[in-house]
């Protein structure tokens, strides 16, 4: 199991970056690499037209999901958006079930009913993915309320894109989460765009950080492409939340490499510059971390290749599983309207 979490450990939880144990670094790296390779595989197979649903890939944004997901316990609950593959995998999701879901198969995590935009699997705490912008946020708050009433030391995570900040429901949710001092971690992946529109055309020139602050919610703003920074910030946030200090907000700067929805690159469209893209590509979270671990000798070229190879095999198995899985029976379409 590449997404095993047993090896997580932290030596220092101060404001600065901690020193990670070798095992932890390795696990972070392999989890992130796996997400990258899975998304690349989806992209390369998408044109076969067998994944018959919109896909929103996280290529370029893997450090954010991985750093957060790795810091969570299995009991913590995640509520995600249209861009959920990475969140699911980082939460310990089952790769085969995810791919099967995208292929619309009965063996998908929800039997093919939702497809890529609705990945959910309550068994691993992937409570929901909701493709309506901002709509998952209050669900996370409600989940946190539930656990608080029951005395469960569980954190609920609301993932949001930068556009969610524009939705009223985010502010209403933040207000209530703080008012009720609930164990909620808001994770904002700021990739600068909503579809083709840059944040500067959607939000006034003020810092996003001012928003959680206004609601009285403590926050950390960090480089979302630096997986150790994300991991450390998340641990710090979780620590704060678990000490019953109420909600916390993580702002992670990152960048989506491919088109908003679909498998292709789209810089040719001109909504963003090649230069901007290249600058972010230099900050490739996977490549950066690979270099770091090579330098630290935590991996070697050989072990890295081996790891890649193992992951690739796992991915092949998952795609084979999906493609060989049956479609859901037509008669079942009417099931589960009511419990």
């Amino acid at each position: 199991m590449l997404l095993s979490k047993g090896s997580r450990s932290v030596n220092c939880l101060a404001n600065k970056l901690m020193t990670l144990e070798k095992k932890t670094s390795l696990a972070l790296y392999s989890n992130m690499l796996k997400i990258r390779l899975v998304e690349e595989e989806i992209a390369s197979r998408y044109n076969e037209q067998e994944m018959r649903c919109p896909v929103h890939l996280s290529i370029g944004q893997e450090a954010a999901a991985t750093g957060v997901g790795f810091a969570l316990t299995q009991k913590d609950k995640v509520f995600s958006t249209h861009r959920s593959h990475a969140h699911y995998l980082a939460k310990g999701g089952d790769l085969s079930k995810m791919i099967a879901e995208i292929y619309g198969r009965a063996t998908g995590c929800i039997g093919g009913r939702g497809g890529s935009m609705h990945i959910m699997d309550p068994e691993v705490g992937m409570m929901a993915s909701i493709p309506i912008v901002g709509s998952c946020i209050p669900l996370a708050i409600g989940s946190a309320l539930s656990d608080t009433l029951d005395g469960n030391p569980v954190v609920s995570v609301a993932y949001l894109g930068d556009a969610s900040i524009e939705e009223g429901v985010f502010h209403e949710s933040a207000n209530f989460a703080k008012l009720s001092n609930l164990p909620v971690l808001f994770v904002c992946e700021n990739n600068l765009y909503s579809v083709y529109t840059h944040i500067s055309e959607r939000q006034p020139p003020r810092l996003i950080t001012s928003i959680p602050e206004a609601h009285g919610i403590p926050m950390v703003h960090c480089d979302g492409n630096d997986i150790e920074a994300v991991y450390a910030s998340t641990l710090r946030a979780l620590d704060n939340i678990r000490s019953q200090n109420g909600p916390f907000f993580l702002l992670l700067d990152t960048y989506r490499w491919r088109e908003h929805c679909g498998p292709n690159f789209d810089n040719d469209l001109g909504y963003r510059s090649e230069q901007e893209f290249m600058e972010w590509k230099m900050k490739d979270p996977v490549e950066q971390y690979r270099k770091k671990l090579l330098a630290k000798k935590i991996i070697t070229k050989e072990t890295d290749l081996e790891l890649t190879d193992n992951i690739q095999k796992e991915i092949t198995v998952a795609f084979d599983f999906a493609k060989n899985s049956p479609f859901p029976e037509l008669e079942t379409a009417i099931n589960h309207v009511y419990a």
């Binding site: 709509s135 669900l139 539930s146 009511y338 419990a339």
Partner: protein, 360 residues
């Protein structure tokens, strides 16, 4: 000791909620002013004292998010009851209701349940005006996955709110403000009617009448008046708008050959349209006349009491409609109308009628 006693619809709601909350510790309440002196028209009065204030959750004026919060809590083991003073405020939360509440069980392939109760109160009277008086059941009833109920009488208020809380699905529980004042016999013990309907509340062969919510009370008055002159109408309280079960109504129409529906909301695109269309499909050859629908005319509610004289459907209008398809001597009709007018006496048009006292 008498198990039944006369209480109002509003009191019955409260009693049902209290008992359901006592029995099931996962029940939690959300409302704006959940524990304020009015406590949602008295329906949540002192419930926190009995079950613990921590289960009474004050809602900021953030209807969309708080509906989402309630759904999130429902997904994770709670049975939230969220009470809105006016159904209109739920328009702000339609996305949460129609997507998340209605579809989670379905989309998750049965993995998630949303055992949520949303109480939505329809305002009326005393110049509530266009934005505090709407009947939006047609909007909500459109979505599969939701259950939409509209009790009319005190006993149902209790039995159905308990059923709603016990249900594993999102139940929109729509209460008409004027029903709140209706008084009738209600058992003291904990009981559920289930989310079931329609209920036949008068048996007859003159015509089949299907009413929703408060309109059931107006229709009941007509049924009673007609009974006195030997005309028996078959009156159904629809109770459950979704999922819609029309067997009993179809059977009735096969007997009476005539159908009248009465909506609390607009006639056009109202609940009656679905009932008429569905019933016709299954009883066409038995119909003697075209089914009739009553409901609000196609304009918003003006505030001035002088403008609403012909707006709301009342017993007189119902009686007149029935008389168009059922044989009633003109003199008898006039006499019945007079007696209804007299009963109502000179109560202004915009305040509820103290007529509605059980047993229903």
């Amino acid at each position: 000791m008498k198990n039944n006693r006369s209480i109002s619809f509003g009191e019955a709601i409260r009693e049902g909620l209290l008992q359901a909350s006592e029995i099931d510790p996962s029940v939690i309440h959300f409302a704006e002013g959940v524990e304020d002196p009015s406590a949602v028209f008295g329906t949540l009065k002192d419930i926190g004292k009995e079950i613990g204030q921590n289960r009474m959750i004050e809602m900021p004026v953030s209807e969309n998010a708080l509906t989402g919060v309630a759904i999130g809590a429902a997904l994770t083991g709670k049975r939230p009851v969220i009470s809105f003073h006016r159904v209109e405020f739920a328009m702000l939360a339609l996305e949460q209701i129609a997507n998340n509440a209605a579809k989670f069980h379905y989309v998750s392939n049965g993995k998630h349940n949303v055992p949520l109760v949303m109480r939505l109160i329809i305002g009326r009277g005393w110049g509530q005006g266009p934005e505090h008086s709407q009947s939006l059941e047609s909007v909500f009833a459109y979505f599969p996955g939701l259950k939409v109920v509209m009790p009319a009488r005190p006993k149902d208020a209790k039995g159905m709110i308990i059923a709603a809380v016990e249900d594993k699905n999102p139940v929109l529980f729509i209460e008409h403000r004027w029903s709140h004042y209706a008084v009738g016999d209600v058992p003291q013990n904990y009981f559920s009617t289930g989310i079931t309907g329609p209920e036949r509340i008068k048996t007859g062969d003159a015509i089949t009448v299907v009413a929703t919510s408060y309109m059931t009370l107006e229709a009941l008055r007509v049924a009673d008046a007609l009974e006195r002159v030997g005309v028996n109408i078959e009156l159904f309280d629809l109770r459950v708008l979704r999922p819609l079960s029309l067997e009993a109504i179809v059977e009735s129409v096969k007997k009476t050959g005539k159908l009248l529906t009465i909506d609390t909301g607009f006639r056009t695109y109202g609940i009656g349209a679905e009932i008429v269309s569905s019933v016709i499909e299954r009883s066409f050859e038995f119909l003697k006349t075209a089914p009739i629908r009553l409901g609000l005319p196609d304009h918003p509610t003006p505030s001035s009491a002088s403008l609403i004289k012909n707006y709301y459907v009342d017993s007189i209008m119902i009686l007149e409609k029935i008389s168009q398809v059922v044989d009633i001597a003109p003199s008898v009709l006039e006499q019945l109308k007079k007696s209804i007018v007299n009963e109502r006496n000179n109560i202004p048009i915009d305040v509820p009628d103290p007529f509605f006292k059980g047993p229903f």
